[in-house]
Point group: C2
Chain length 333, copies 2
């Protein structure tokens, strides 16, 4: 049922029907009897206002796009869930797209969202985009960069305070074991580089002068990379370290596999550290310290910045930093 159809069926005009449907009956002093008739008709026959037509006319879609490297990554899944809740509460829908860490796919995704006329876009870029082509849209589109703050973007960025968290995590390991290495995947990511800086700072604070040699990094973020990195650690140091940090759970899994393959099972005093968190970590036989991003707070910051832009505030290239949290044995530290 369209507004026109209802108008025709009830004998009133488009305008009158629309006022009732949009809850503006009061404001335009629609006669009570008129309103009742229309409302009764609608409750009997139902109505679905066509937001496609509405969008075309208003040049506003009440939709926001989300461009992620990978939805299967729990961090992004949680971020999506949190953002979605905020959007829905505000009457917006969320269009999600994954780029699978492919810059071309990312560009395509952005273009597709632009075609759809989204009012805003949240992007976790998979590469240092030269420039997101927001130009070309018929209307301005709010943009917020999430999680991956490649330099040079003219948009607000919301990121975790990776360096601080990395430092705290490393500090715990070094304090408890006096030794630690860092297994880093995707070193080209700003967030990873920041975590490494935090690790190095902790090493410096503990007066370790071989900090650089404690960093092992690869370009891909997967289990195989973690395994390979840990094998390298074992080879270079003649055995497993007393403690290690991994830049992601995938790397963590690979590292555990490598140690398991080497020593049969995990040395019981091996102290494990990892970015990203999963509840099952708490049931591993070893002590695990994990750094966790605050998806809800990140989503809130993103949404705030986005809605401000959508309300007309011009976008700065500001950097909004959200605190990460360290967990150990199922409890925040």
């Amino acid at each position: 049922m369209t507004l026109d159809e209802i108008a025709a069926a009830t004998g009133f005009s488009r305008t009158t029907v629309r006022f009732v449907v949009n809850g503006q009956a009061e404001r335009y002093r629609i006669k009570a009897k008129t309103r009742e008739q229309i409302e009764r008709f609608i409750s009997e026959h139902g109505i679905v206002i066509d937001r496609t037509a509405r969008s075309l006319r208003l040049k506003r879609s009440d939709a926001v796009g989300l461009v992620l490297p990978d939805l299967a990554n729990p961090f992004f899944a949680h971020l999506t869930a949190a953002l979605e809740d905020l959007c829905h509460a505000a009457g917006l829908v969320l269009l999600t797209t994954s780029s699978h860490d492919d810059p071309a796919g990312e560009a395509r995704a952005v273009a597709r969202l632009l075609e759809r006329g989204v009012d805003g876009m949240v992007i976790a870029p998979c590469s240092p985009m030269t420039a997101i082509p927001m130009t070309g849209g018929r209307k301005s589109c709010a943009v917020v960069i999430a999680d991956r703050a490649f330099p040079g973007q003219p948009y607000p960025m919301v990121v975790t305070d990776n360096e601080a968290v990395g430092r705290r995590l490393a500090d715990i390991l070094l304090s408890e074991r006096g030794d630690a290495v860092f297994l880093a995947a995707s070193r080209w990511l700003p967030s990873i580089e920041e975590r490494i800086r935090g690790f190095l700072a902790a090493c410096a604070a503990h007066r370790l002068d071989d900090a650089e040699s404690r960093i092992f990094s690869s370009n891909t973020d997967d289990v195989a990379a973690g395994k390979h990195l840990m094998e390298e650690v074992i080879t270079r140091r003649g055995g497993p370290p007393a403690a290690f940090v991994c830049s992601s759970l995938l790397v963590f899994e690979g590292a555990l596999q490598a140690i398991g393959a080497q020593t049969g099972r995990l040395p019981s005093d091996l102290l494990l550290g990892t970015f990203d968190h999963h509840p099952l970590l708490d049931f591993l036989p070893n002590r695990v310290v994990s750094a966790r991003q605050d998806e809800v707070a990140i989503a809130a910051a993103i949404f705030h910045s986005l809605t401000e832009q959508m309300r007309g505030k011009p976008a700065h290239a500001e950097r909004l930093v959200i605190d990460g949290r360290i967990w150990s044995n199922g409890h925040p530290l």
Copy 2:
């Protein structure tokens, strides 16, 4: 840049420009020079065709909606990722919405998608909906029910073969330990009921006549429920079982917590079984057997049925069953 603007700027008509833009230049034998001129202009100035207007005209949005109970649930996150890939490859966008297991939220989500004119909808219902109000839309909308096959829906349903998987899982536990209990959350879900049936069938095959008393169930699916259920098991049976299955990882975590609280740490010969899988399970000190849904195959079946409907094939209430897989120690069984 709109088609009209380009037409005006290049001096050709809307139609001519559109033929070029839509790649139909060949078909309509647009003069090569004309095409080149238009293409050059576009490559210089860019173009974003407005799919909002297109949708309005064509009554087709090239969008499909996805209604899930909870995106943060890894199964649904993986399903979403898989579906998204299929959609994008077919030039469709995916609108995701979570209902948080709230029937009212679910109804709202469906209505919102209908307003948006989605061509199709994938729903993992959170309750036995009396009827999804597909009526009222201006055009028919393809529908596929995923994962939760409440009876009575007139749409195709894609589900895992829960009973068979549940039976295989229970069979492994009973064969290896001769004892097992089932901790089930959300017993009102068809999928859970099916898993329980599989468990009971395995018990019967192992000539256990107390099968019913091995089922412990709750209405919520969370860690607290799992803990509570395991406490009940321990109380009723005077100690932890030799093996148990949980209907979800959340319940699994709760159960481990309860046993840990009771016995200090996990008895080393305790055999763990769970639906849902996570790679970290492989690093637990105990042997873990887990049943895993095949999200990619499920997504493929959903997408196939959906696109068939979108091409005009009327929807049957058929039931498409996808095999689940059992994993143990990081390998499929």
